[in-house]
Subunit: 338 residues, 3 copies
């Protein structure tokens, strides 16, 4: 299904092999040797292709799918149309992810260093790195083994990039350390001065920004996202946190492990986000706050106060999600009355 000009498929697998890869079970053992050649969407898949159902919104598509095989939660298996071979998984989307990775392993160039990159003689480049055309690597920078620095990326003085990282086209890294296996997307800006100054009618007075950005390992930072360095303390992005496109993260912000931050979120200076927080698109969070572990914030919310661990909030200013729904319902009723 994937355009072969852009994506290179590895090989075919039996359903049993895929079950192993996916942490799933072949529902009917008679199908264990069924050959699967590719992944595809429910409404496009055909013979020898495997699809998945995760979002129940697409249940209807599932009942009509022509897919040869399908990954499905146990409770929904009975809805399968005749002839579709089933892989049963408690986490169908995660199982699909692993299967798709098997068919389409990450493209990664064999290491080479372009002679059209600008590399300072004092920079250290690890083994097996790929450094593309027009890359700038500054004095004292260190690039870990197997890292891939894409065209036009800028690595500032003394920046450290870990092992197995991928730094996107025309992105900018300064005053930062990037942990192992992290990926910075095209156009992201990491490590510039935070927005720090004392307001003065004769001219704002700049506060030197003396911290760094510490990006831990297995982090993803989206396209055109901006992360300012700390003012004194560091700005920190915790291990395994994923950040989408066009997000703004202010100076001194500390983000924990395993968080998910959707596009166009803004987090103001010195706020702390604990582990496993999920933040919807376009949320704004004021400065100097604490957002507890596992908090979930709905899209477009505005956060002006600390939020305790485990809460789900919505609205601007944000309130617990049930209270928000009551507000919306009440406004409707009042208007009908009025």
């Amino acid at each position: 299904m994937a355009d072969p000009q852009f994506f290179k498929k590895s090989k075919s697998f039996t359903l049993a092999e895929l079950a192993e890869i996916a942490g799933a079970e072949v529902m009917d053992a008679a199908n264990a040797d069924y050959e699967v050649a590719d992944v595809a969407a429910l409404d496009q898949a055909g013979e020898n292709q495997i699809s998945f159902l995760d979002n129940v919104k697409y249940k209807e598509q599932f009942t009509h799918t022509k897919a040869g095989a399908c990954i499905i939660a146990p409770a929904l298996a009975e809805l399968a149309p005749d002839g579709v071979k089933l892989l049963v998984s408690k986490h169908p989307y995660k199982s699909y992810a692993k299967i798709a990775q098997a068919f389409y392993p990450d493209a990664k160039p064999e290491g080479y260093i372009s002679d059209k990159a600008f590399i300072h003689e004092s920079a250290e480049i690890g083994e097996g790195c790929t450094i593309e055309n027009g890359v700038h690597i500054s004095e004292g920078a260190v690039i870990g083994a197997q890292s891939w620095i894409e065209a036009g990326a800028y690595i500032g003085p003394s920046v450290q990039v870990g092992t197995g990282c991928r730094i996107g086209v025309n992105s900018t890294l300064s005053h930062c350390h990037i942990g192992d296996y992290s990926r910075i997307y095209t156009g992201a800006r990491i490590g510039q001065d935070g927005f720090g100054f004392a307001i003065d009618p004769t001219g704002h007075v700049k506060v030197p920004q003396l911290g760094r950005v510490i990006v831990e390992s297995h982090v993803e930072i989206g396209a055109n996202t901006t992360i300012d360095r700390g003012a004194g303390p560091d700005t920190v992005i915790g291990q395994g946190t994923w950040i989408d496109n066009l997000v703004q993260i202010g100076h001194n912000v500390k983000i924990g492990r395993g968080c998910v931050i959707v596009a166009q979120v803004g987090i103001s200076g010195s706020t702390v986000i604990e582990d496993f927080v999920a933040i919807g698109g376009q949320v704004g969070i004021a400065g100097h706050l604490n957002i507890g572990q596992g908090v979930r914030i709905a899209a477009q919310s505005g956060i002006m106060r600390n939020i305790e661990a485990g809460q789900e909030v919505m609205g601007s200013p944000a309130v617990p999600i049930k209270q928000f729904m009551k507000q919306v319902a009440m406004l409707k009723r009042l208007i009908k009355k009025g």
Copy 2:
């Protein structure tokens, strides 16, 4: 009026010639030969310059204008001050656009290919292209005739760019096809991985993003806007759609023809926007929704449900625009009472 260091004027026109260009009529035939040398704003225009009135907010400026000529809707012609020659048009702003294009045709360099661009030997470059310094054109990429690739732009492997396109400074194209006569502004990012993963406490599992971005013809995509490629299906931007700066478009989104999407809008994954939809600035739209043909969404709205064709909505969560106005009025009344 335009700074001649930045803009090159073509020549003078008679009012009759401009009427022809603009789909308008010279109100008083005696003025058909009046020579117009330039365009200018109502409050700055003088002799031999033509201006326009479209937004009634500027009516006052119109009644005092010193412009030699003016484009005006029939109903407002009687407000014209003495001596201003009138071009009457049902669509004054469109007529102005065409006249301004005649005075200031698009700057376009004569084709040339910089020897300081990085062009893979397998890439195909059409006739009459301009390829500026520091451009990267990757393996298997195809650039259509008369296209203009500005300095530092990156064209990824197998990307196809149509005829007469303009690809802005330091922008990034990967995993995409760009239709004829489309324009990508500086810093736009098109075709990177969508934000797709299965959440897992031991580390989110990446879902390979196996689709493309298909940008049809006559599309404009603003500065620093990001458009992720599909996860399996393609992300599609329909013919003649205009997208402003800093917009985020998620994976699998389908946008129809002739849409207008203002700055800082975010559209989540797999949502479908039908033809001729207008979306105000900073709107957020959730994933997996359908926005019907001709829908108009006011700035800063939040869309959590499907919207039927032709509706006008506002607010977060969005409601029909009249209902939103009632909410606002009612809140005001209740506070006065309280």
Copy 3:
């Protein structure tokens, strides 16, 4: 405290010298000769380091600080723990800014021009400039003395950059003048076409954008921010205005002096922002409005009407801040009743 790999400290100062630099007073004259070697945060500072207390939220940290010295407002001096030497200032944050600048003066390379920059032969480069690798300077551009053009930045035809400017990595300047001592951060886009067209079902008709962007002196423009050039009039950013990351400024907008515009704000076309306006993060402002001098707009507000000088507003649509707080309180009460 600051990582010496990234930041170079100048030297030590006595408390009396720092008082002079900071416009502050040594509280106990006996401490005038106390030697201060560095700045540090309240909770990290130790002997011979100076910290400050400005935000009362951190009062608790102050009462336990181990800092050798601290800058403090007169009213809070009595809270100081024993042994902390005090510098008393009416504006502790501004005093800190000046002291931190003394310890860490702006890094600035000695002037040099990379032979790997692309500089048109007609461009004028002032004395003492630094032009890094991969910079593009186009025909007729003028760069003032002592300016620093960072790697991969693009300076378009006829652009004028003043004295002592710093133009960030991979940023784009076209159709603009940049005043003295202004700083453009990495990835900012200044001077591209505004979003101007006449809507038409057969294809929107582009309105040529014939104005410029005029950035006055001592302006800061954040990372990945976009500022469109005027449609006929110019877009203007007034002296000493600071703009954060990912902000969008539409064509013809005029911003006065000394304004502060936080991240992800959007300002629509032709709006006028008077002097000393402060705009919180993610605010949206409609087009053709006037925002009076000294107005303060809370984060995430939506502005649909003119705002008179001196007002403080909040909400979408925005209302005076007290009215907004009443709305929030009333909604809470009504839900409890309901």
